[in-house]
C-alpha cells in the first residue's frame, strides 16, 4: 500500500521492520513489507533510520507540496540500469527516430483523449451530439500529425501548436460535461482557479512522481527529453512521457464530479484560487490509486494501469538498446 502522511507534525521513525508513524498521541506501525511508497504531503519529521529502511526495501519517499507538485524525493543513489541507454537517448533526440518516438507519444495522447470522450459519451445520451462534435474536432487535429516528417528541431513548434489547440478543444469538452455549478475556464495552475483544476493538478502530481520513478528504474534519464526542450534543468523526458497517461487523471477527476463525491469542504479557498485540503487530498489519492490498481488489457496481456507506466518505460529503454545492436 501507499503510506500517505497527511497530518501536520507527523513523526516517522523505524521500529524493527516497521515504519512507526506518530500522529498526535496515536502510534501506528506499518510493516515495510506492505509499503510500496511513502507520500508526505504536509510538514512532518522523519528519522534517517526510517529513510534507510525505505531505501533498503526500494520504497521511495516522495514529498508533495500543497498544489500536488512533487518537489523532492528520496531514492537510492544508484541509477536503474546501464548508462548505454542514456547515451542512446541523447543520440536519438536529434534524429528522425527520436522525432517519431516523440510523435507517437503525442498521437497516443490524442487517442487517449478521444477514447475518454467516447467512453463518457456512452453514459451521457442527452449531450451525445455535442460530444461527437468535440471528438470530430479532436480527430481533425490528430490528422495533422499523420503526415508529419522531419526532425524535432524543425517541427517542435508545429507539434506543440497542434497539441495546444487539441488541448483547448479537449478541456472545453470536459468543461461541457461537468455539472452546471462546476464548469471551468480552461486549465489553471499555481493556484487552480476552480475545483476541477485543483483536483486535476494534484492528480497530475501523483502521476508525475510515478513516471519519474519508472524512468529511473528503466534506466532512462528523466532530464533528456525530446519534445520538451531540456535546457532549464527540468525533467523533460518525464513531461514527454506523462502525456501518455494524463487521460487517467482526467477520467478519475471527471468521475469524482459525476458521482457527486466532490464537496465544497474538500477545498481551501485562497485569494486567487483553490487548493485541496486534507480531506480533499485523501479522497483524490484513494480514488486515483484504486484506479491505477485496476487491471486492464494492454499489449495482449492483463496488466495493472500502474504497471503500464513501467512496462512502457522498459519498452522505450529496450528499443534504444536494440537499435544500438543493429547498427553495431
Amino acid at each position: 500500500m501507499n503510506l500517505v502522511i497527511n497530518t501536520y507534525g507527523a513523526y516517522l521513525q523505524r521500529q524493527g521492520d516497521c515504519f512507526r508513524v506518530r500522529v498526535d498521541d496515536k502510534v501506528y506501525d506499518v510493516a515495510c513489507a506492505k509499503v510500496s511508497s511513502i507520500l508526505i504531503s504536509t510538514a512532518a519529521y522523519l528519522t534517517t533510520d526510517a529513510i534507510k529502511l525505505a531505501i533498503d526495501h526500494n520504497i521511495d519517499i516522495i514529498f508533495i507540496d500543497e498544489m500536488g507538485e512533487p518537489y523532492a524525493r528520496i531514492w537510492h543513489s544508484r541509477f536503474g540500469s546501464t548508462t548505454e541507454i542514456r547515451r542512446r537517448q541523447l543520440a536519438i533526440a536529434e534524429t528522425e527516430e527520436g522525432f517519431n518516438l516523440a510523435l507517437s507519444w503525442v498521437k497516443r495522447k490524442f487517442d487517449n483523449q478521444i477514447e475518454l470522450l467516447k467512453k463518457l459519451r456512452t453514459t451521457r445520451t442527452r449531450k451525445s451530439a455535442q460530444i461527437t462534435g468535440y471528438i470530430e474536432k479532436l480527430e481533425n487535429c490528430r490528422k495533422q500529425l499523420d503526415t508529419m516528417i522531419g526532425t524535432i528541431d524543425e517541427k517542435r513548434n508545429t507539434i506543440m501548436g497542434v497539441e495546444g489547440s487539441g488541448g483547448r478543444i479537449y478541456f472545453q469538452a470536459l468543461s461541457f460535461l461537468m455539472p452546471e455549478d462546476h464548469k471551468f475556464e480552461g486549465r489553471s495552475r499555481n493556484p487552480a482557479k476552480d475545483e476541477f483544476n485543483a483536483l486535476l493538478n494534484y492528480a497530475y502530481g501523483i502521476l508525475y512522481s510515478r513516471v519519474e520513478r519508472a524512468c529511473v528504474i528503466a534506466g532512462l534519464d528523466p532530464y533528456v527529453g525530446i519534445l520538451h526542450t531540456d535546457n532549464y534543468n527540468k525533467k523533460s523526458l518525464v513531461f514527454d512521457i506523462i502525456e501518455n497517461y494524463r487521460a487517467w487523471a482526467e477520467e478519475v477527476v471527471i468521475n469524482l464530479f459525476a458521482a457527486r463525491k466532490v464537496k465544497k469542504e474538500h477545498f481551501d479557498q485562497l485569494e486567487n484560487g483553490y487548493t485541496l485540503n486534507k480531506e480533499g487530498k485523501a479522497l483524490l489519492i484513494e480514488t486515483f490509486l484504486r484506479f491505477l490498481d485496476e487491471s486492464v488489457r494492454y499489449c495482449g496481456r492483463n496488466i495493472k494501469r500502474a504497471d503500464i507506466i513501467q512496462f512502457d518505460c522498459h519498452k522505450i529503454a529496450n528499443s534504444l538498446l536494440s537499435r544500438e545492436d543493429e547498427s553495431g
Binding site: M1, N2, L3, V4, I5, N6, T7, A10, G16, D17, C18, V21, V23, Y28, D29, V30, A31, C32, A33, K34, A282, I285, E286, L289, R290, D293
Partner: protein
C-alpha cells in the same frame, strides 16, 4: 509465481518476553494484530517459511505453541465477524493508501 496467501498466526506462550518477541516477529513480517494472541495478514510462501523458522527459534517447544494457518480467499469471504472486528480490507491488502 510466489502468490500471497492469507495466514493466521495463533499462539499460546507463557513467558512474557518470548510472547513479545513472537508478536514483534509477526508485526515485522506485515501481519496485523486482530486479537491479543492472533495475527492475520497476507504473506507469500517465502515469508511464511521465514516466519516459521523465526518462531521456531524463539519458542520453547516443550511448553509453547504457535499455529500458522493458511486460509484461502474463498473461505475468508465466508468469515463471520461479531463485536470488535478487524478491518477485512486492511488484512487482505485491499487498502491501497493508508492516510496518517
Amino acid at each position: 509465481m510466489n502468490q500471497d496467501n492469507l495466514v493466521w498466526v495463533i499462539y499460546d506462550i507463557t513467558n512474557n518476553k518470548t510472547r513479545g518477541r513472537i508478536a514483534r516477529a509477526c508485526k515485522n513480517k506485515g501481519l496485523y494484530r486482530v486479537q491479543k494472541s492472533a495475527f492475520l495478514g497476507k504473506l507469500n510462501r517465502t515469508q511464511i517459511a521465514e516466519l516459521k523458522a523465526l518462531c521456531g527459534d524463539i519458542i520453547d517447544p516443550a511448553i509453547d505453541s504457535v499455529y500458522i494457518f493458511p486460509m484461502c480467499e474463498e473461505d475468508f469471504k465466508k468469515v463471520q465477524l461479531l463485536g470488535q472486528a478487524f478491518d477485512r480490507e486492511l488484512v487482505s491488502d485491499e487498502v491501497k493508501a493508508l492516510f496518517l
